[in-house]
Symmetry: C2
């Protein structure tokens, strides 16, 4: 399972100030700490970009790749910013992301084809509504897959995100059980080896003690891994979650695994 | 998932001395600590009983039930000791266990029927050989189920143990992946809601640092839980594993779950 850091989110005031001032130092510092904590890819979430979206997003990408060779996940809903990021990015790149929403299909998905990039597709309805059960999720997965094929995207570039629900939602537990079911069925359903990603931080969002958040993430990650999840997006400073992701590889991998070592 | 303590194992020298002297204090002390740590059932593993097996095993059962109302898992291969334990036991009781081995089918399985007890059936071949893949495990599960039905055991009394392999085995990782597959398929395979149990301590047996053992148990438990495991047998002093088992219930249960509380 590839560990993707979701720590670089410009909603963080220190990062927002750095972006406003084009100051690379706090961003570089964060990226280096994410790498040290075990990140294997970095999600760059710019948040809303009211001014000069292209310049700001390109600055973020340039800053991160100046000190990291990790794959970058370009996380913006602004197509201009995204395109600027894609033009700037020299690391392996993933677009985050598209859905069945018309604006996304028309303005985000084609960028993956043009720039030969991987792209995350969310299992959400055309109005971004969250599906209510496994059958609905699978119907959306088929639609996403067909939409991406029709747009000219090779299936190996599609990464499906089944959308983990916060446990605070009324149907959060049931929703996430459906996510496990759908992950396990995706390969047969789509008839192609499409990868998957999940945003684990959604699980315990809100005012929950960090220790409890990590414990929940640590328990849900192995369920997702056993169901076939390829990539997990979460706070890599949650050490227990990083360790869980590594142990999942050990428990599920084909490789001979140094199971006596602490480093996994 | 029901947490079964495997801590009461007479291989422990302090317990061996207590058993030899018919001294209940160390046994009671251990059981109370297991309960406090989260045990929901207690496995009583007498080890070999060279002298007076009936008296010794009955003493163990009597001692445990004198201070605990938890279900007791009677873990001995000696049919006389087991029968003495069954006669003594007033708590809910589970026999641990039988397999396709002739001696077990002839001398252990019938005791479950006579004493109206639950019984664990191991997915092992007739010579106690470990199956090599999921197909072989499922064939054995069907044979176990039929053998128990033919003996007159109601299916709701059968608890299947798919036998977790130590990761130190050459094929341990692959074996345990097959265990996950088989757990998920048991209900359809047997056409009856048969319960399952797994001995998690097997996973990281041997000279592995405790912290590492717990981390492995903590990651494997959610995989087993998501595959449908009903009961887990492990060292309940591994606090991380107990916490993982509780969170699995929260993540997989139908009940509304107090997800903000530390106590799960």
């Amino acid at each position: 399972m590839i560990i993707v850091a979701d720590n670089l989110h410009v909603v963080n005031p220190r990062l927002a100030a750095a972006l406003a001032d084009f100051d690379p130092a706090p961003i570089k510092d964060l990226v280096l700490r994410c790498q040290a904590a075990g990140a294997q890819a970095i999600d760059i979430n710019s948040g809303p970009l009211p001014k000069q979206p292209e310049t700001h997003f390109a600055f973020l990408v340039e800053t991160v790749q100046s000190i990291s060779a990790l794959p970058l996940v370009l996380d913006t809903t602004n197509p201009q910013a995204l395109e600027a990021g894609l033009r700037t990015c020299q690391n392996p790149v993933i677009i985050n992301g598209f859905s069945l929403e018309t604006a996304k299909l028309e303005r985000i998905l084609p960028l993956a084809v043009v720039h030969n990039a991987d792209i995350i597709g969310y299992l959400l309805g055309p109005n971004s509504q969250v599906p209510t059960d496994a059958d609905e999720m699978m119907a959306i997965a088929v639609e996403l897959f067909e939409a991406s094929s029709n747009a000219g995207l090779p299936s190996e570039r599609l990464i499906i995100d089944p959308v983990i629900a916060p446990l605070s939602w009324d149907n959060g537990i049931r929703h996430n059980q459906a996510v496990l079911t759908v992950l396990g069925r995706l390969p047969d359903l789509l008839g192609a080896p499409v990868r998957s990603i999940a945003g684990i931080s959604n699980l315990a969002s809100g005012p929950i003690p960090t220790r409890r958040k990590v414990a929940l993430e640590q328990a849900f990650l192995p369920m997702l891994a056993a169901a076939g999840l390829d990539m997990a997006l979460f706070n890599v400073f949650h050490q227990g979650a990083v360790e869980a992701a590594r142990i999942c590889d050990a428990l599920l991998g084909e490789k001979i695994f140094a199971w006596t070592e602490d480093g996994a």
